[in-house]
Amino acid sequence: MNMIETKGLTKIFGELKVFENIDVHVKKGEVLVIIGPSGSGKSTFLRCLNHLETPNGGHVAIEEETLDSTNKKHLRKVIEKMGMVFQNFNLFPHMTVLQNVMEAPITVKKENKEIVIERAKKLIDKVGLSEKFSEYPSKLSGGQKQRVAIARALCMEPDIMLFDEPTSALDPELVGEVLNVMKNLAKEGMTMIVVTHEMGFAREVADRVIFMDGGKIVEQGTPEDIFKNPKEQRTKVFLQKIL
């Protein structure tokens, strides 16, 4: 079964075609990494998957359920299956680490508080922040914030995790701790779509790499294919610049 499927997905901002006719399939447990120059449409594509941006054409299906932006209730239900991690963390600054992680399951899913606390604590422990339960986000480093953000998304027990340049806002020495959490997640079999500039991560963790440029998928394949034997000239140029 395809966990995610897009068909003819298109996004236009005014005059600007961000991307057009994108078809992507992601299987259960697959880690898909999307790379490409800035402005290639990769982040917007990711944001269309959970309808943070409403696509102008084509459709997105999650576990074979099509997202329908006119049916808000159904849309929210489907979106719940995807956890999202943002470049700028977007933690809730007025809540402690534990409250951040607990909030959505209690408010959105109306889960039992005791059960959620238990799960939230385990997740915070898993990302290595059990000492920080009652800290506010402002007291954390960027890497710690991002790990809390990952725990927050996981506490909703998603089937799919979307990462939108999760390490781009971090100081270089903090990138590793976030990538490690993501690697572990991949090992546990989480289905993941990751937009990133971390080529090391893409090589090591990705099952498949997509290279996007100018709103199109230029090339896709295993990390081996893309990084060692890129077929397209544009891919070669991009990789030469970045590696």
Binding site: M84, N88, N90, K109
Partner: protein
């Protein structure tokens, strides 16, 4: 003015201060409730709904509070609605304060980073849940200083209801002046009482601000 007269007027003015505080408190509470609702209406993406909110602030910020009080108290009986001076005072002050509060709260909401809305949406929050759990609690901290201002202004604005026969602090002072023939004593004491109230509330708001700055 001898000590005996002074001792006589202070309790009267203190009692009137209680009425001033009561009016201030009720108007700010109702004004805040109105303000939150009107602010939500004003930020609606539906242009028609938003224009209702804009109309409200346009009217009540754009005309004098004293005139609004006259309309509620002296004008409404003409269309069959008779309000006591207390009712007219609270309605007038609340509606007027609501117009200012709406702008303050709207500003607070607009100051919240759009990433907060996105994170909430990605987690499956409804619009209402996002507002209640994420946006308004953060906006609350931002609006504390201007709400403090509004509260202080309201303490003084309540004096306007003396013109619709409400016995609050300023009116009591006026009556004491007429009765005693001493124009300076009651007014000075009254000024001190207003200063005392505004000072107390200024420090209360500063301490709320400090308490909320934990994050």
């Amino acid at each position: 003015m001898d000590f005996n007269t002074l001792a006589g007027i202070v309790p009267i003015l203190l009692k009137a201060s209680v009425m001033t505080l009561k009016l201030t408190f009720l108007s700010v509470v109702f004004g805040t409730i109105i303000g939150v609702i009107v602010a939500m209406v004003k930020i609606s993406s539906n242009k028609f709904i938003a224009s209702i909110g804009n109309f409200y602030t346009w009217i009540f910020r754009g005309t004098p509070l004293l005139l609004q009080l006259f309309v509620f108290y002296y004008g409404f009986p003409a269309v069959g609605i008779t309000l006591t001076s207390m009712q007219a005072a609270i309605i007038g002050l609340s509606i007027n304060s609501g117009a200012y509060m709406a702008e303050i709260i709207r500003g607070g909401i607009l100051a919240i980073d759009k990433g907060q809305f996105e994170a909430s949406k990605a987690l499956g929050f409804t619009y209402y849940q996002t507002m209640k759990r994420i946006v308004l609690p953060q906006a609350f901290r931002i609006v504390i200083p201007p709400v403090g201002n509004e509260f202080i202004a309201m303490i003084k604005d309540t004096s306007l209801v003396s013109s619709i026969a409400m016995e609050e602090l300023l009116r009591s002072a006026g009556l004491l002046v007429s009765a005693s023939g001493n124009p300076i004593g009651p007014y000075l004491i009254t000024a001190c009482l207003y200063l005392l109230m505004t000072t107390v509330f200024t420090s209360i708001f500063s301490s709320i601000e400090r308490k909320l700055s934990i994050y």
